[in-house]
Symmetry: C2
Subunit: 345 residues, 2 copies
DNA sequence: TGTTAGCACTCTCATTGGGTGAGTGCTAGC
DNA sequence: GCTAGCACTCACCCAATGAGAGTGCTAACA
């Protein structure tokens, strides 16, 4: 008993219907709503086979059937292979970003909002990874007589800033020359490397040892500091019947609250352009009946960020995939183009 | 029929019990658990009076009674007047902040977390208001040949940064001298004033008109830009029986998602140190059975931020008030002390 | 041999109706 | 003024009932 064309068509119909209604679907429904040219009895036989093959589950004997994770997997794989993902018009998405600030956090936040309102699921947007970020420019700006703001410009345009103490008074000019020296020394290095360089510098330049040490600490802090994770559409989730149970909502919500964990769940893609993880595939007990679809976008420097959508396993994969596609492309354009224009000069 | 001492004591007991159990409380419970030296029948009579006075509601005839908004108002007012708010040990709170970065956003986020975990309600922390923020220092940092990062240091230590385009190439030295000129011109002025000054400067300095114009726009953007609002403990809310209804959770959640609105609800305090708004007093339909307790904290420069807690009307006001008190003080210290030490030099 | 009609069977869900318990209001007595 | 006692009212729980949806199986049909 293998998987023939007809079984596939029936399974497809069941999944489509279940995605729509969230109710177990019966043989009669299929034969009527999706005209297969088959009677309910025949479909019943096929459904029985599909259940034995592991593609369908039956909540109880006298209910219809619901697709299993395995069924969704098949469904999604076909979707991806078949290239059946409808391509959306990019303009609608683009409109949400034009005329806005280009600051990283703003774009990220906005993206999460747009993503959630387009899909009606929970959207997560992670900024480009910071492991390989390289320093471009370091600048000290006097804030008061005993503290200065450190601004580090990196090659992804991300700016890390923090205030540090300086023990003895340093005037604006002195800070400026230190800034130049730091830029010369650190430019082109990653944050990790910079930390080592700063330690070395601190040993050699006793007069500014303290300053350099705190700079080193600051850089170290930033390498581990969780970056800003944008989330949108949490309340969307509550519109789905699978979350009519408060306990489930609670689980999901506390997952969303711990941004670090959320980020690691969404970002778990081996730099493949798009990943779909269905229910148990997530490996997270709380998310056994959630699917996570994620895509990567990249900045001009090759840094990769992640956008993801979390929804019930019966989510509208086709739509989500196309929205993620267009959105990833859009973000790549946005982050790439910003610098692309600069490079032209 | 007025409010005598005994009625007050009974009302107090009812509120205390209801805060604890969230169940309508009956006359028998009061006479037994809180020994008033009165029989249930007597208490029944008093409760009947209290209901007529508008302090109690009855869900249905054979249930106990629950406190009305008016009752909570009385309760809270007595709490505030009587100075009965237990003062907590500040050290426990302080421990959460020591050894951490002093960057505004980090502190704000952390504060929301601590506040929610101490109260078990939803916590909101707003950064110091930016209406009266004055500029201290402006610095242009080269990012690429055609763009520069603008850093504006304000007197609350908040740093606004954004990348702007520069049409013709300006080297590091030129940018530095422009920075100095800008600092001289704008230092001490509010963002609004600065916008006007920049417009004026753009007219007089044709060569840098474009740069100055975009700077002006940027400053303008930032005056309206919603600032970072920290929220913590959303999932806490779901532990309370009043939110066992998914629809209510949904309403609350979508309120929390629109940070602007949330901020305006929490911040609606006429610069009084602490405000309690009970249920309908919020004037927000979605929050008819929520109370909002908020307190202000201030930075060394007199800027005021707000911390707030949102919970069911039957929240533990006494605890919330004392936690907010200690937390506000703590934040004030944190933001004040940072600069306070600088001032000493 | 595959398809279909028919039928008995199973199980959920919504409804109904009595029983229980918590709480009240009222009255009469202390 | 307080309290004991009592009738009364509901919400809630539980079991029984019936309708409806869907299945599996069998037998007939093309």
């Amino acid at each position: 008993m293998g998987m023939d064309e007809r079984k596939l068509r029936i399974l497809q119909a069941i999944i489509d219907d279940y995605i729509l209604t969230a109710e177990p679907v019966g043989s009669r429904t299929i034969s009527r709503k999706y005209d297969m040219g088959l009677s309910s009895a025949t479909i019943r036989n096929e459904m029985s086979d599909l259940e034995e093959l592991g593609y369908l589950d039956q909540p109880h004997v006298s209910a219809g059937r619901i697709p299993s994770a395995k069924a969704y997997r098949l469904y999604v794989d076909q979707l991806l292979e078949g290239g059946k993902i409808p391509s959306l018009n990019a303009d609608a998405v683009r409109a949400h970003f034009t005329g806005r600030g280009h600051q990283m956090e703003e774009v990220i936040d906005r993206a999460a909002q747009v993503l959630s309102s387009m899909t009606h699921y929970l959207a997560v947007v992670l900024p480009p990874g910071s492991q390989q970020v390289r320093i471009r420019n370091v600048q000290l700006v006097p804030v008061s007589t005993e503290s200065a703001l450190v601004v580090i410009v990196t090659d992804v345009g991300v700016v890390r800033d923090s205030v540090i103490r300086i023990s003895r008074h340093l005037d604006s000019e002195t800070l400026y020359s230190i800034s130049r020296a730091l830029t010369a020394a650190l430019s082109g290095h990653t944050l990790q490397e910079s930390q080592a360089i700063l330690r070395e510098m601190a040993r050699n330049m006793e007069e500014n040892a303290e300053l350099l040490a705190s700079l080193g600490n600051m850089v170290g802090d930033h390498t581990v500091k969780r970056s800003h994770v944008a989330v949108g559409g949490t309340s969307n989730m509550l519109t789905y019947p699978e979350y009519s149970d408060v306990e489930k909502v609670r689980n999901l919500l506390s997952l969303v609250e711990t941004r670090d964990r959320l980020a690691s769940i969404v970002a778990r893609n081996g730099s493949v352009s798009v990943t779909v993880r269905i229910g148990p595939e997530n490996g997270v007990p709380e998310m056994e009946d959630c699917s996570v679809v994620s895509a990567v976008y990249s900045t001009y420097s090759g840094q990769q960020g992640t956008i993801g959508v979390i929804g019930p396993t019966r989510m509208n994969y086709s739509k989500v995939l196309s929205v993620l596609g267009i959105m990833g492309q859009q973000l790549s354009e946005l982050f790439g183009a910003t610098e692309g224009q600069d490079e032209k000069s």
